[in-house]
Subunit: 167 residues, 2 copies
Amino acid sequence: MEYQEAKEKFISTWGSLGTLWGINKAMAQIQSLLFISTKPLSMEEIMEELKISRGNTSMNLRQLMDWGIVTKELIPGERKEFFTTEKDVQELARHIAKERSRREIKPVIKILKDVSSIKDDGTEKTKELIKQTKALYDLAETADAMMNKIVNQEQNWMTRSLLKLIK
Amino acid sequence: MEYQEAKEKFISTWGSLGTLWGINKAMAQIQSLLFISTKPLSMEEIMEELKISRGNTSMNLRQLMDWGIVTKELIPGERKEFFTTEKDVQELARHIAKERSRREIKPVIKILKDVSSIKDDGTEKTKELIKQTKALYDLAETADAMMNKIVNQEQNWMTRSLLKLIK
DNA sequence: CTAAACTTTCAATAATTTATGAAATATATT
DNA sequence: AATATATTTCATAAATTATTGAAAGTTTAG
């Protein structure tokens, strides 16, 4: 496999993985393009490379910046804006995990808590609803806490966390 | 909040969470309906409850069965088929984690491995591609291993894993 | 201040995904 | 075997989501 083929394979794989996880294709592809680029890229270059429109590029770059994994780079003497992504995979994972917890997990946990706290009217179906949503609440909270714990450790957290677990 | 409201809130929240994570709404809703039901439900009852068509119900039940989280229940004397979902949240999480690893993570890891193994032609861009995809490969493999480790422990694995990590 | 370079917004459109419903198939009952 | 009941399939419709491109908005340079 040559460079070009490998690059395309990487970008398209990442794009479709994104889709599978509820992230849109262009967004995932822009990020992966930046991830393997040796230098910051301009909007023009991204459009060109991925064959997507200006509007699409602009909107998805904004989203990536909202997620905190892409930043504008100002290059002296250049009028255009350039973009880079977080290059450290662990840092990247940390950002994504944090954001996803905040945006998606936490609100659901809140609702599970509310639902599992309804008044027990003594009927079987109410008991079941309370019991099951309570169990889900506990699981979600533990999983979320665990995630944050793992992710908020210093360098090499993942490997070290894994070692701990294996013991 | 009364039973009916709580129930609807739970089902619709679960449905939209599903959507966010690349699982379709009907599938998530059927599963959540079964999850809080006190007895197995027939296709008829599911359709009625969620106001979805017969075809939709049939297709999504099949998918849930493919995922291994819903099973057919044969009720003596009944001609219809009835369905239940795994009621134990930890067992449920285990199933989902395993399947997701097998279907989605493993194939991507494979591709990352391939891409990161291309011949180093000495150019900067090739070096970067190799370096970055290698880092991603390592991360993905560690994360996947960790997931499986956590999930393949006996009862209360999650709480116990968390305790280990806190120490 | 004005013009050029560049970016953002957003209505229109395209692409993709999901849902419907009726015909086809399968299974059970008499 | 014939009939009734139940389930699946699949072409088509509907809904949702992503993309385009051109107009509007910004910023910088002269």
